[in-house]
Symmetry: C2
DNA sequence: ATAATAGTTAAGTATGTACTTGAGTATTAT
DNA sequence: ATAATACTCAAGTACATACTTAACTATTAT
């Protein structure tokens, strides 16, 4: 299975869109239906469904349909793929600078 | 200040491209010149420079030119913006998962 | 049965993006 | 001085993407 390695590309690609990140932020507060998820977004429901497909295909979101209602929730571990990649790129010297006080000490 | 908020968008957008992530991976091993950074990539130097501009504008990479050579290095703290966003979402769903039974019973 | 709801799907458009080529500049080597 | 190096910049192209509209299906309500 190349699922995880192939995924890292699609996960970052998915997170590269601000609308999809907004959807993730919303879903991080709890599961909800497609139309409820669409409410604060100023795009059509069809567009939301398309974004949802992207998020689902890369494993960031899981959905299930009961009756005519589809419920969406964040897939635990999906974001971990992205987090792991970021953590690998941080060298020991970067880890230190990750703290605010060190950032402030850095000249422009 | 929405400076940081505006950045989060460009940072994730930058990381959404696999070539740019490959460049970040390379640079995480240490600073190097533009042409050396371009070596393993099967694209023109001009394209690499364009990617470099994207990475620099969003604060993931810093470069400085000495003579005719431009040296690139990872900007400490740039990746932290992305990491913090992810961690915020992760915390949220972890909290929710602690009360999964409540979620399942959640009405409309 | 009829209507309303919730989502789905296809097709088209418009803009963005990654990439190339080709010509240019500034710096270093001979 | 001439040539090679290390980029830099502008313009164009091909493809990806976010989005819309409009017609459709399936489920629930009246």
């Amino acid at each position: 299975m190349n699922g995880k390695q192939a995924n890292i590309d699609s996960v970052f690609h998915a997170l590269g869109d601000s609308t999809r990140r907004a959807m993730m932020e919303r879903l991080s507060e709890g599961p909800m239906t497609v139309s409820r998820l669409a409410e604060p977004l100023s795009i059509t429901l069809a567009a939301v469904v398309q974004h949802l497909q992207v998020l689902e295909e890369c494993g960031l979101v899981k959905t299930e349909k009961h009756g005519r209602v589809r419920t969406c929730r964040i897939e635990p571990g999906g974001l971990a793929v992205a987090r792991e990649w970021i953590d690998k790129r941080r060298t020991s010297w970067e880890e230190r600078l990750d703290r605010l006080d060190v950032l402030l000490a850095e000249p422009e």
